[in-house]
């Protein structure tokens, strides 16, 4: 399934770039994310909890940066394992920043996500809606965090 959205941050592109490539800033904005571990400059690990109705999932997620074009684009690959539900997710992600003005940046993201295992039974349609709502939660948290930083 494809997840795609964009949001606008009231901050210059350089600052948004510095924030969105910093796991210490990004991780707290990801709903249900905890225990971030920087394995190497291009590999991060974290635990992400997601609940959909009665189903509770906890993914051990590994994000690998594939390419970086500062301050415009990041491509990454995500792999997540959910042991108790015997499910895995994999995603190819792209994130692009576009300057809308000196102090305004559009963040565009798109992921091609595949879910395999018991969770696959639940139906991708609803998962896509859930992912979209998690994406909006992330955007709100990220905006708040980045826009709160005083302009130097």
């Amino acid at each position: 399934m494809k997840i795609e959205d964009s949001f606008v941050v009231a901050a210059p592109r350089e600052r948004v770039w510095a924030s969105i490539t910093d796991p210490a800033i990004v991780a707290p904005c990801v709903p249900g994310c905890q225990g971030v571990e920087v394995v190497s400059p291009t590999v991060y690990r974290a635990q992400v909890r997601v609940q959909l109705g009665p189903i509770k999932a906890q993914f051990a997620v590994e994000v690998t940066l594939v390419s970086e074009t500062p301050p415009e684009e990041v491509r990454s690959r995500t792999r997540g394992d959910e042991r108790s539900l015997a499910s895995t997710l994999s995603a190819d992600n792209v994130l692009r920043l576009r300057a809308l003005g000196a102090a305004e940046t559009e963040v565009y993201y798109a992921s091609e996500v595949a879910v395999v295992g018991k969770l696959g039974k639940f139906g991708l349609g609803v998962m896509q809606k859930k992912a979209a709502s998690l994406g909006r939660d992330f955007a709100a948290a990220f905006k708040e965090r980045v826009e709160a930083v005083a302009v130097p």
Binding site: L52, P54, G123, L124, G125, V126, Q128, K129, S133
Partner: protein, 283 residues
Amino acid sequence: MLFFRPGRVAEAVALLAEHEEARCLAGGATLVAMMNAGLVTPGALVSLAGIPELARISAGTDGGLRIGAMTRHNDTAGSLLFHAGQRVVPAAAARIANQVVRNMGTMGGSISFADPAADYLPALVAAEATVEIAGPQGPRLVPIADFVTDWYTTALEPGELVTAILVPPAPAGSIGIYEKLDRVAGDFAIASVALVLALEDGICRAARIAIGGCGPAPVRLVEAEAGLVGTTLTDAGIAAAGALLAAACDPVDDVRASAAYRRAVVPRLLAKTIDRARRALAA
């Protein structure tokens, strides 16, 4: 896993408070299937089967109904206590899955799971029902329109359970119709329409429309209904209401149908449902 079978609602509430990972077991039509599939592994089950007050439908003197949360779909479908527009509820019950599931499944269990493609929620929205909830803070009432808060998410707080669904008397002379588009009989809805309609000399006196299967919760729009009340229900008027409702839908793409198909089908399904209601009222 622990298993409890309390005899009173208060005991069930106490057990849910005591065991954080507990889940209520109503009919088991969904929960047991999900447990079998390994998707849900509750630490404890609190069966509601031993609480007699939950398994009754009773009528008040004003014609309002109290449907116990443990009322099986078949008992709802066959109940003669529903009158006029209230009959949208048994009409929906009769369209749920198959005989076996209707013997197992309960109204409280179904709405608590809040499957967007299931049949009760749109019918209860059209019937303007209220959900009666018990919990550690005592009982409370939630209008059905506020009960589903997101995909598969309800207003139920941890430790709370649905005890009954209250269905008020329907508008005088109204009729309740439930229409569902499904791939095969008994499947979940691609889209559904629950309608409570009253006509007087060909003029629409009341219209309540709820669309199922096209978003996290049933879609009901005051402006769509207002455009129909007081009219003779012309094709153009119905199409306009259908277009408003379709625009308000937020359907998923899934194995049953694409989101675009669901939106396209809503106005047609509405026209079909109104046509059925008119014929039934004329007969």
